[in-house]
Subunit: 362 residues, 2 copies
């Protein structure tokens, strides 16, 4: 790949352009707002001048609702040897393009599973996609040369290509991304009119469940609007579980022993199915969740405390896999939970104890 | 307080006993399994010998279903000047006691908002409650001396006392703890029969939403069985939102512009209510969520990398408020997100850049 055009210089488009430019590809930047394209160019993502002729790869990085029309336009103009989009849904745009009678041999729908809270070119970075799955949805009509250009882009972005059928992709993101977003919002929404005293009792559980409820409603409305069917299907499954669980809880209040027993079984069933499903969520290295042991160390909130802990752990030759800092409510002291491989626990605890740290008993 | 008895030497009972023993209180340990009480005694939580006469405070730390009977027994025997329980629900046990005709002037229901994944005396520690809310539910009948003994215990455990009415407590924990647990399980349960490829697409959002779905089903069945009404009420509210959201998503698939518009409004509404509710969740210091800025640093997975970062941050006089380590899928390199107060960002980024760290652009 020598030349590319990126249409839509938001977070994703500009990040891909930065990665390609970093590998010596000449990237032309286009946006419906020329100031955005100019900003991306100023960041080193490429040039906002139009190309002389057809480029190797056209990357369409516009919002889902505009993908099909934008692709139809660039394909119609013969702007490139290959065309991809990077939208978060894949089935609808492909069907729209087919309905418009566009020749799809030069096109692959793709979806990089990366993002961040902020949007726009200023939030972009060349390493946004590093190690993330990047879904490709080739069809029988897709030219091999086109597939290879998309794979070249993904390799330059240091992402991990995953080939899927377009509708299977849409069902998968409904399951692992779109539905969790809506459910997190619904749990958080219950707090809207809660008593202040009730809210004071929030712990780490609800904090984690509602973290993504802080996401941008406009962005999520766009995403959900492009994938309503699969999201409604997954939500309906949850709604059925929810209704059964409400029935089971009501049965627990019954005077009849057999009804109470049935209620308890229903609740235990949903909790156990939750265990099983959670067990399938991959950990940070993309494998099954790693089993780390936690070593908990008491610290004060002074600068340098964490540095000393990590330096001491390093002395023991121990790699800290993950860290969680728990501060006590209303206090400046807290607990650092160091997650390490089980075999590293004895060396780490011995080293930290030797160096005077207060450890919470295992 | 000079003497206490702890009945039920699990995680909570033994932790309270450790805190009291550490302050010089003579603690007598009782468990239906004498080996458990013996283990707690061996850990330094007190003695498993019976007291000579009435103690100052009896702490009943048995599972919710056994609280009322155990309290009725010790109150009937006049075993102490004051009696508390520490169960996760408060209204039911109080009504059971009243129905049994027990004199409640010497009793306060309490609930320390603390716990951990592991149970039993070996998981206990004197600092389990440090900085955590500890709910007290006194009534008009409660003696002031009894309230003061409970407050003394909470102070020795370095927890934060919160006074609530018993049923308000049960509604609050249904909202902030019990319902999030069930909903997390339901989202995770959807992954049970998902394709392996779909599961590969899981990101940090679903990882957070489903973290507590890994919790122990037996323990949660006990908790939920003791508070079915309030949990069913909160879940019913979520069920109504869920049904409306499914309708809104179906409306987005409609051919009618006005129906689609109504659907979009419905979805945006739930997302915005989620924003508002999430805004009320207290942060680590018990206040509204602190607004930290994130400085992201690329690291390799070698021991000592984190130590160097924290040491360098310490050099800049910057206190790291929270840390998140993101490893790239299938790779040994990752990104450390350092959360700091906004005013600390310039000093931190300058120091880290000077010392050769690769920062992700802000």
């Amino acid at each position: 790949m020598r030349t590319a055009v990126v249409i839509g210089t938001g977070l994703i488009g500009t990040s891909a352009a930065l990665a390609l430019s970093g590998r010596g590809v000449t990237v032309h930047l286009v946006d419906h707002d020329p100031a955005q394209a100019h900003t991306a160019a100023a960041l080193g993502a490429g040039t906002d001048q139009a190309p002389d002729g057809p480029v190797d790869l056209a990357i369409v990085a516009v919002p889902p609702a505009h993908v099909a029309a934008t692709l139809a336009d660039v394909i119609g103009r013969g702007a490139a040897r290959a065309y991809i989009d990077v939208a978060s849904v894949k089935g609808g745009p492909m069907r729209e393009l087919a309905a418009l009678g566009v020749d799809l041999s030069g096109y692959i729908g793709t979806h990089p599973m990366a993002g961040k809270e902020r949007s726009g070119p200023l939030a972009a970075s060349a390493d946004l996609f590093e190690g993330r799955p990047w879904v490709l949805t080739p069809t029988r009509d897709t030219d091999t040369e086109v597939l290879n250009l998309a794979l070249e882009l993904i390799a330059y972005c240091r992402a991990v290509p995953v080939v899927m059928e377009a509708d299977a992709h849409d069902r998968a993101v409904a399951l692992v991304s779109h539905t969790p977003q809506l459910v997190s919002s619904m749990v958080a929404a219950r707090l809207g009119d809660a008593d202040e005293t009730a809210v004071r009792l929030c712990g780490q559980g609800i904090r984690d469940v509602t973290r993504i409820a802080a996401s941008d409603p406009r962005m999520w409305l766009d995403i959900l609007s492009a994938n309503p069917g699969p999201v409604a299907d997954v939500l309906s499954g949850i709604a059925a579980d929810l209704d059964e669980t409400v029935q089971a809880l009501r049965a627990l209040q019954s005077g009849e022993e057999s009804r109470r027993k049935g209620g308890a079984e229903g609740i235990e069933d949903v909790l156990r199915r939750g265990n099983a499903g959670r067990g399938r969520v991959p950990g940070k290295h993309g494998a099954a969740p790693a089993v780390y042991e936690t070593v908990a160390v008491l610290i004060s909130d002074r600068p340098g405390e964490l540095a000393r802990i990590f330096a001491d752990a390093g002395q023991a030759g121990v790699n800290i896999e993950d860290v969680r800092i728990e501060h006590a409510t209303g206090q400046q002291a807290g607990l650092v939970q160091l997650m390490v491989e089980p075999k590293a626990v004895p060396a780490l605890t011995a080293e930290l104890r030797d160096r005077g740290w207060a450890l919470r008993p295992q």
